[in-house]
């Protein structure tokens, strides 16, 4: 089946099994490096892309559902030479270790802040309750996102920032009742 997608402003027509998850098309047919296969189950966020103004999990989204959609991947935000401000915030905070999760963290945060630019730190943290980083660069990542959102963050030379959540996120275990 032939499907047309617009990815980072460029139109692509691909002949593909319509049940193929969007992620496979992006990373294999279009050779994009931003979206990544983390779990294939929509649980970790590594495959996130932006479409129709939302962050979606491309590993569980059939490509057929995205026909005609305008998709933005991490590469579509900015480049090494001209990073997007949220990418710059991550660079400034040195907010990663292996970097595999960065795609999901950055795009999930950006989509949320696009919708709610005045979100509090607690609201930002809740919005990130469904994304993982197994190197646990959490403190730096939250600092980067808060910096991008315009919240004051402590200087990086010293201590890590703190954030508190006041609700129970629905999507993943957060140390609560089990």
């Amino acid at each position: 089946m032939s499907i047309t997608l617009t990815v980072n402003g460029r139109s692509h027509t691909i002949d593909v099994d319509p049940s193929t998850p969007l992620l496979y098309v992006l990373s294999d047919d279009l050779a994009l490096r931003g979206p990544k296969f983390g779990c294939g189950l929509g649980q970790c966020g590594a495959c996130t892309v932006l479409a129709r103004g939302r962050a979606i999990r491309s590993c569980v989204t059939p490509v057929s559902a995205m026909s005609g959609a305008d998709i933005t991947t991490l590469e579509g935000l900015g480049t090494v030479e001209r990073p997007h401000p949220i990418q710059q915030a991550f660079i400034d905070e040195q907010a990663a270790q292996c970097g595999f999760c960065l795609n999901g963290i950055i795009l999930t945060a950006k989509a949320f802040l696009d919708q709610q630019p005045n979100a509090s730190e607690a609201e930002i943290q809740r919005a990130l309750s469904g994304v993982l980083c197994r190197c646990f660069a959490h403190t730096r990542m939250l600092r980067a996102i808060n910096r991008y959102a315009g919240h004051p963050v402590p200087s990086r030379a010293g201590d890590a920032g703190s954030a508190t959540g006041d609700g129970e996120p629905a999507s993943l275990w957060t140390g609560g009742v089990k």
């Binding site: 990373s27 292996c98 595999f100 197994r134 959490h138 403190t139 890590a160 959540g165 009742v177």
Partner: protein, 780 residues
């Protein structure tokens, strides 16, 4: 060198070494070149084999091009811990060239020396102290000074090397660049163990918070992970693992997938099953549809009784230390404290499932692999394919963060087997279930502790006995059966032989922190421990695990330290002494004492015995706990204060603040070290609060992020503060595994301080917290 660059070289029919050979040699003679201490090049505890890249030769480590670019070759890779940046800093510093002019090639067996495995917090000690990469750069710098001396006609002591050039002191106009001196030719010199290193006080590039050289490309999606490797003509593979542990293959109905679009081959090798297809989704669908019949393996011991099970198996026993007076000292102690601690199997659970690309044809293989063990993987692949190691090239390309041995080695084997079967390049990426159900887990432990205290409240005897489950592990150079693919393909894991414990002899080693920091560590007359307790027995029993195990970040050190640091806290509470003061009383290591003092000071430690007086018996309670460790006895000193809140009604623990003080000798990159401390602290928190491998009577059941609990970005992230104790006058030690080692004990001790309830089993689930609270409240 990027993969593209490798391909370009290969396309030209040239390896780097060929290139250097054909560039002619620069002959330099010295009046005295110290004899190379070959034995001295051994990689600490990590065995390496001789390879075609001779580590005794300078050209194996460095090449200087005519434009002054320095290419350095290392056998230690960046898994996300920042070694790419730190090693680039190291070369730039020792060679006096700008950071931007150094290109580091990591773990490509065609061109890099064999430095074994990147593991055990050994990369910094190996490459930053008196060996290898640092010594190569220092040797090159001295050689360049001598060359410049001849070139400029000025004695070396009147020359200064800076910014990739050598100039005459007091005459800025007289200078020569490295590029001009070497011009892409070989240096043709042995590594000089006497070459003078730059003292830390003269550092201008090392010791600075240099930003990660890969950060911008990672943040913008341009960074190339192994998952992004694409080779012309590449196909896609998927594996079909057994349905249960130990199951064996009876039959495969290939016709069940032959009709499916894109399917090229069904590959069977003993119990190894995989499919190859044109597209990745076709391979995934075919693997799911393939009809295979399996004969179930033997039943697995029930999870509910695993710790008791470990105590009743044949075991391989070892004394780490054993003074003959333990029973007598216990008999005369004023009081005895006893406790048992349990630590579960935990997993690496890498963020991305493991992936590799193999190109096997005409008896030669190239593997693009995220392995931490490039040369050992080369040997393992050679065994699987029945070729010689020299016919295999392993090129390290970073995968998702690895903390020991995730699926990186096994997926490299998968790709090799599938490519071998079809004679074309094959890319394999595991499914989440295949990653989690079959990786080499961190060891499950059960630990008995017993200590005797004298009338003055000091510990006079420490008696430790542990049982832990082990099977397989790193494949090394000759045991591919230590990981699942090798086993399925017909190779046995390392043999398990029960043995009784021999009396300890030789130099004291703390046995992956089986010995607590508080014992003297006396073998014969020499005491090698970090503490003062002279009556000491440390006995370990290794038993065969039903699952594969391997080195998960801080292997054994973490489990042992959880038991030691909680138990020490129990003894301090028993004698009603402040836990920090009590630690300082029993430690002899000045460096560990300094770390404890620094952490306590930074945390504004509330000095008093635990538990906290006037604490509430229900609702919210808060407390603070301390833990510390001399990592492997001598490889890093760290202490942590944890502040927690406990909801005594729900059993939920919230860490509010973690304050860490760490001494790892001279710090190569302070920001990189803070990043390691912060990540280690929070990874340790996740492991302490929720991570546990689960199984039923046949198979592992923790197979995704709903069934294995990793704290997401949205949890109540504590403040993490780090104090770096920077020492310029000692050797560098490891820093990748220190912080994670002490988290569970710091949290458990803080929970005790807050509530008076003692947690002795990881993870500290809400149910276990509630049972500990119930035990506290039980009459008697």
């Amino acid at each position: 060198m990027t993969v593209d660059a490798h391909n370009a070289l290969a396309a030209a029919g040239l390896s780097r070494r060929d290139f250097l050979k054909t560039s002619g040699a620069l002959i330099v003679s010295f009046t005295t070149v110290a004899a190379l201490d070959r034995a001295g090049l051994a990689q600490g505890p990590f065995d390496t084999h001789a390879s075609h890249v001779d580590p005794s030769q300078l050209d194996s480590w460095l090449a200087i091009a005519a434009d002054g670019t320095v290419t350095a070759y290392t056998g230690k890779c960046d898994l996300g811990q920042g070694m790419l940046t730190a090693q680039t800093q190291l070369v730039a510093e020792e060679l006096s060239v700008p950071l931007s002019r150094v290109k580091l090639i990591q773990c490509d067996t065609a061109v890099c020396p064999d430095q074994g495995t990147t593991s055990g917090s050994q990369s910094t000690p190996t490459n930053f102290n008196q060996r290898n990469l640092a010594q190569a750069a220092a040797t090159a710098r001295e050689a360049l000074l001598r060359l410049a001396s001849t070139h400029l006609g000025v004695p070396p002591d009147r020359l200064t090397a800076a910014d990739g050039a050598i100039r005459v002191d007091g005459d800025e106009s007289r200078r020569v660049t490295y590029g001009e001196l070497v011009a892409g030719k070989k240096l043709n010199l042995p590594l000089d163990p006497q070459a003078k290193r730059k003292p830390a006080r003269e550092w201008t590039i090392l010791g600075k918070p240099v930003p990660r050289v890969d950060m911008a490309s990672m943040a913008t999606g341009e960074f190339e992970f192994v998952h992004n490797i694409r080779v012309p003509g590449m196909l896609h593979g998927a594996v079909v693992r057994p349905p249960s542990v130990g199951a064996t293959l009876v039959n495969v109905d290939e016709s069940s997938v032959r009709h499916m679009p894109g399917v090229i081959e069904v590959v069977i090798r003993k119990n190894f099953v995989g499919v190859v297809a044109a597209k990745p989704w076709q391979a995934v669908k075919a693997a799911a549809a393939l009809k295979a019949t399996w004969s179930p393996g033997p039943a697995i011991p029930a999870q509910s009784g695993i710790y008791d099970h470990l105590r009743h198996q044949p075991s391989r026993d070892a004394f780490v230390v054993h003074s003959s007076d333990v029973d007598a000292t216990l008999a005369k102690a004023a009081s005895i404290v006893k406790a048992t601690y349990q630590h579960p199997y935990q997993m690496h659970g890498s963020m991305g499932t493991s992936c590799a690309v193999a190109d096997v044809k005409d008896g030669k293989a190239t593997i693009w692999s995220p392995t931490q063990s490039a040369y050992p993987t080369r040997s393992g692949v050679a065994m699987l394919l029945g070729v010689q190691p020299d016919d295999v090239r392993v090129i390290f390309v970073r995968g998702a963060g690895c903390y020991g041995i995730n699926g990186a080695d096994t997926v490299s084997y998968d790709a090799a087997l599938l490519s071998h079967a079809v004679g074309k390049p094959v890319r394999v990426q595991l499914s989440r279930k295949d990653e989690m159900a079959w990786e080499n887990y961190g060891f499950a432990y059960t630990i008995d502790q017993r200590a005797g205290v004298d009338a003055a409240g000091s510990i006079i005897v420490w008696d430790y006995e542990a049982w832990f489950a082990s099977r397989g592990g790193r494949p090394g150079y000759d045991t591919p059966g230590n990981v699942i693919t090798g086993l399925l393909a017909g190779f046995e894991p390392a043999a398990f032989k029960p043995a009784t414990a021999a009396e300890p002899a030789g130099e004291f080693r703390n046995g992956s922190n089986a010995a607590p920091s508080y014992v003297a560590g006396r073998i014969a007359k020499a005491a090698g421990g970090a503490g003062t307790i002279a009556s000491e027995r440390v006995l370990t029993h290794t038993v065969l695990s039903p699952f594969f195990t391997g080195p998960l970040r801080s292997p054994s050190r973490l489990q042992n330290t959880f038991a030691h640091e909680c138990f020490f806290d129990e003894i301090a509470a028993h004698v009603r002494v402040d836990p920090v003061a009590y630690r300082l009383r029993h430690l002899s290591s000045e460096r560990l004492k300094a770390a404890v003092t620094a952490a306590a000071k930074a945390a504004n430690w509330d000095a008093r015995p635990s538990p906290k007086p006037n604490r509430p018996r229900s609702g919210a309670a808060t407390g603070r706990g301390m833990s510390c460790v001399a990592y492997e006895g001598v490889n890093g000193y760290i202490a942590m204060v944890a502040e927690v809140a406990v909801d005594q009604d729900t059993g939920r623990i919230t860490a509010k603040r973690l304050v860490v003080a760490q001494d790892c000798g001279p710090v190569s990159n302070p920001d990189g070290m803070r990043n390691q401390i912060e990540g280690g602290a929070l990874q340790g928190l996740s492991r302490a609060l929720g991570e546990e491998v689960t199984w039923d009577d046949q198979k592992v059941t923790s197979i995704d992020w709903r069934t294995y609990h990793s704290l997401p970005l949205g949890f109540d992230v504590p403040i993490v503060e780090s104090v770096l104790i920077d020492r310029a006058d000692v050797q560098a030690t490891g820093a990748g595994e220190t912080a994670i080692t002490i988290v569970a004990a710091a949290i458990g001790n803080a929970v005790f301080d807050a509530t008076g309830a003692r947690l002795r089993q990881v993870p500290f689930t809400t149910e276990r917290v509630k049972s500990a609270l119930a035990a506290r409240d039980a009459p008697g």
